[in-house]
């Protein structure tokens, strides 16, 4: 797939997106309508082959299937918690596929679709939700940083990483993911400031899924979030977050903008959190069912499927093969989680420091001695039973 990143792409956000808040609803960059109709946008063009579209479709379906499996594994007690990405597949797959392998992603706790695009094994994501680790993958292996639970923090890390890229004279870029709720954090404003002042090659990708647990976006802002960028001196764009093609095109443009030394971009992917905040949450306490129903009509996967089928680029054999593959993935995830070993308790003392620390060593020894006193007591007990 190719994206026309020079001819059609603006160097600043399109005027339509920079209007005042009261100039009616802001324009949403869209390339694929909810009905699955391919439309053009004057500023963001995208050329795709049927093969690429099928590959995108496969990503969306597999990611959703993985997510559903994780939710049910939580219900079965195999995971302690799960933060579902349901409804946000297009925002994540679109932006995730826009990155080069050398581009770096800094996720929140919900970017399972981005992880997928970066080639992170989905099973790796489940460790922290099962409670066997706090992350557990090597971020540098796939250029996908650890999940960050403290909202907003990672936007600064992403900015600093991007500042390093500039110092290295490299042309990589970074995406900092965050939510509508996190946009209120001081860290996010500080990240905007640093990125702008240093023209850091970072794209701020805000998934506005309309909710921060129980708080609607109106509790965080009076202007559309993408408009925040202009105050910091860089472009902001609102994209249809349920349109994978628009997310891909806009993110590609933004990454190019960033990596060519033109500074940061804020993308607001307008989407919806179709599920609960996490498996601990009960959204019926704070939002109405009609809202969910109206967003169902904008489903990111259905529209691409409709497009593929209408164009004759996906037959039932293809759709079935993706379905079968997704079931296979779910099975692998299920089995992988169920057999995921608990860490040894003494691992508590591992990796606390890179260079070691006397107190950690002392406490590890104390712990091991204490733990083995139980083992020997148990052994004595069994010996006793043998008598």
């Amino acid at each position: 797939m190719t994206v026309d990143s020079t001819a059609g792409a603006p160097t600043t956000a399109p005027a339509a997106n920079d209007g005042p808040a009261d100039a009616g609803p802001p324009e949403l960059v869209q390339l694929l309508t909810p009905e699955g109709e391919r439309v053009e946008h004057p500023d963001y063009s995208l050329e795709t082959t049927p093969e690429e579209l099928r590959s995108i479709y496969r990503d969306l379906v597999l990611v959703r299937r993985f997510d559903a499996e994780a939710t049910s594994l939580q219900r079965q007690g195999e995971l302690g918690l799960w933060a579902s990405l349901l409804g946000q597949e297009a925002a994540q797959v679109g932006s995730g596929r826009a990155m080069r392998p050398t581009d770096y992603a800094f996720p929140t706790y919900r970017e399972h679709g981005v992880a997928w695009c970066k080639g992170v094994d989905p099973l790796n994501l489940l460790g922290m939700f099962r409670g066997v680790n706090h992350g557990g993958w090597d971020p540098d292996e796939k250029n996908f940083h650890l999940y960050t639970i403290v909202i907003g923090s990672q936007t600064l890390h992403a900015t600093g990483y991007a500042m390093g890229i500039t110092k290295d004279g490299a042309d990589d870029a970074v995406i900092a993911y965050f939510g509508d709720g996190a946009s209120s954090q001081g860290d996010v404003s500080e990240a905007f400031t640093f990125a702008s002042v240093y023209q850091a090659p970072v794209v701020f990708f805000c998934q506005n899924n309309q909710w921060a647990i129980s708080e609607p976006t109106e509790k965080q802002t009076r202007v559309p979030l993408y408009q925040r960028a202009s105050g910091f001196g860089f472009p902001g764009v609102r994209v249809d977050g349920n349109d994978v093609l628009a997310c891909l095109a806009v993110t590609r443009w933004a990454l190019d903008h960033a990596r060519t030394g033109q500074g940061p971009v804020l993308i607001e992917a307008f989407t919806y959190r179709m599920g609960a905040h996490t498996t601990s949450d009960d959204p019926t306490r704070y939002r109405i069912a009609e809202e969910l129903e109206s967003w169902k009509l904008k489903d990111p996967i259905e529209r691409l499927k409709a497009h593929l089928v209408r164009e004759g680029w996906a037959d039932s054999a293809f759709l079935e093969s993706v379905e079968a593959e997704s079931e296979q993935l779910a099975r692998r995830v299920r089995e992988g989680v169920r057999t995921m070993p608990d860490p040894d308790p003494s691992s508590i003392f591992e990796h606390v420091y890179a260079e070691g620390h006397a107190l950690v060593d002392e406490e590890r020894e104390g712990y091991l001695a204490y733990a083995s006193s139980f083992a020997s007591a148990a052994a004595e007990l069994t010996d006793g039973e043998d008598d």
Partner: protein
């Protein structure tokens, strides 16, 4: 909801806290509740359940998601005569507000030579044991207790939670109110029309004994009471002091207890190194040196990040680790 037994009823800690907030809002129109998801949702633990409906969003405020902003604006509201009760959603999320708490909230009264008061209460569900993901199980009491200008309390049961919260809100000083989240659903007797048994900063002897004093607060009081029960079967009489207040500490109650028993073990979830136990051990040693039969021992978390939930049981002090320390103290 609450089950009646005489004038007292059985309440969970969540219900007892909710009732304390309700009464504080009722009694003083200047009282405000603010935080993330405290409105319609009623807080992620439902401590503020129903308050938004009954007192309106002018007084029960869903704030933007910014802890520094929440505490910073609570300070401003207090300067304007309000009594904000702030909820920090989980222990690990108070750090963005740490600057506002430690450099501003704690010091402003002194800087203004006493002319202004900062009656801000900061409620924080703290400590572990609920199988949560990272940043949801921290015991950071020592940071706050180490800061002059803040008062720090941690109830262990529903009745204390209720009365101590009302007392904290009524206090003219900033109070860090640490709620042991794993005890949220434990039940206890309470009559909210009655009166508190103790002043906010007094400790309570939760169980009397003669052989050794177990000192704990918040979530570990229950563990210590269970340990005392288990030790009793072996003929050991352990006294349990529920500290309740971590700043100021009721050293008089501690001293009286340890002078009688001659031995003390401090138990908390926070890492032992420079935790509350360090201060308590030093003070007890100073005050009770000639009564002590053994050094004051400490049981706590390790000098490591709070671990993933599947191994948190190894990190958290439990009955066995408390009794192990008791054995060591008795063997001196």
């Amino acid at each position: 909801m609450a089950v009646e037994t005489g004038t007292k009823k059985s309440w969970t800690m969540v219900q007892a806290l909710n009732e304390a907030l309700r009464r504080s809002l009722d009694e003083n129109p200047k009282t405000l509740v603010m935080g993330e998801d405290v409105g319609r949702l009623g807080g992620v633990f439902r401590v503020t359940d129903g308050l938004h409906k009954d007192f309106g969003e002018e007084r029960v405020i869903d704030t933007p998601l910014a802890e520094s902003g929440i505490v910073g604006t609570a300070i401003g509201l207090a300067l304007r005569g309000y009594r904000p009760v702030v909820e920090i959603q989980f222990d690990g999320f108070v750090y963005p507000a740490f600057d506002q708490i430690v450099t501003q909230l704690a010091k402003m009264h002194a800087r203004a030579l006493g002319h202004i008061k900062l009656p801000v209460t900061i409620r924080i569900p703290f400590a572990g044991g609920i199988g949560a993901v990272e940043h949801h199980s921290e015991s950071h009491e020592a940071y706050f207790a180490h800061t002059a200008g803040l008062k720090v309390v941690a109830p262990s049961n529903p009745a204390d939670a209720h009365w101590m919260l009302r007392q904290a809100i009524a206090s003219d000083d900033p109070v860090i109110f640490l709620e042991p989240k794993r005890r949220y659903w434990d039940k206890g007797q309470l009559d909210p029309n009655g009166a508190p048994e103790l002043e906010l900063h007094r400790a309570r002897v939760a169980r009397t004994g003669t052989d050794l004093t177990l000192i704990a607060y918040g979530p570990m009081v229950k563990v210590c009471l269970e340990a005392a029960e288990a030790a009793a079967e072996d003929g050991l009489k352990l006294e349990v002091v529920d500290l309740r207040s971590l700043s100021p500490v009721d050293f008089d109650t501690l001293e009286q207890s340890v002078r009688r028993t001659g031995r003390a073990v401090v138990v908390h979830e926070a890492p032992v190194f420079l935790g509350m136990g360090a201060e308590l051990a030093a003070r007890i040693t100073e005050r009770c040196f000639y009564s002590l039969e053994a050094p004051v021992l400490r049981v706590g978390g390790y000098f490591a990040p709070y671990p993933p939930s599947r191994v948190e049981d190894a990190f958290l002090p439990d009955l066995d680790r408390v009794l192990d320390a008791v054995d060591r103290a008795m063997a001196f």
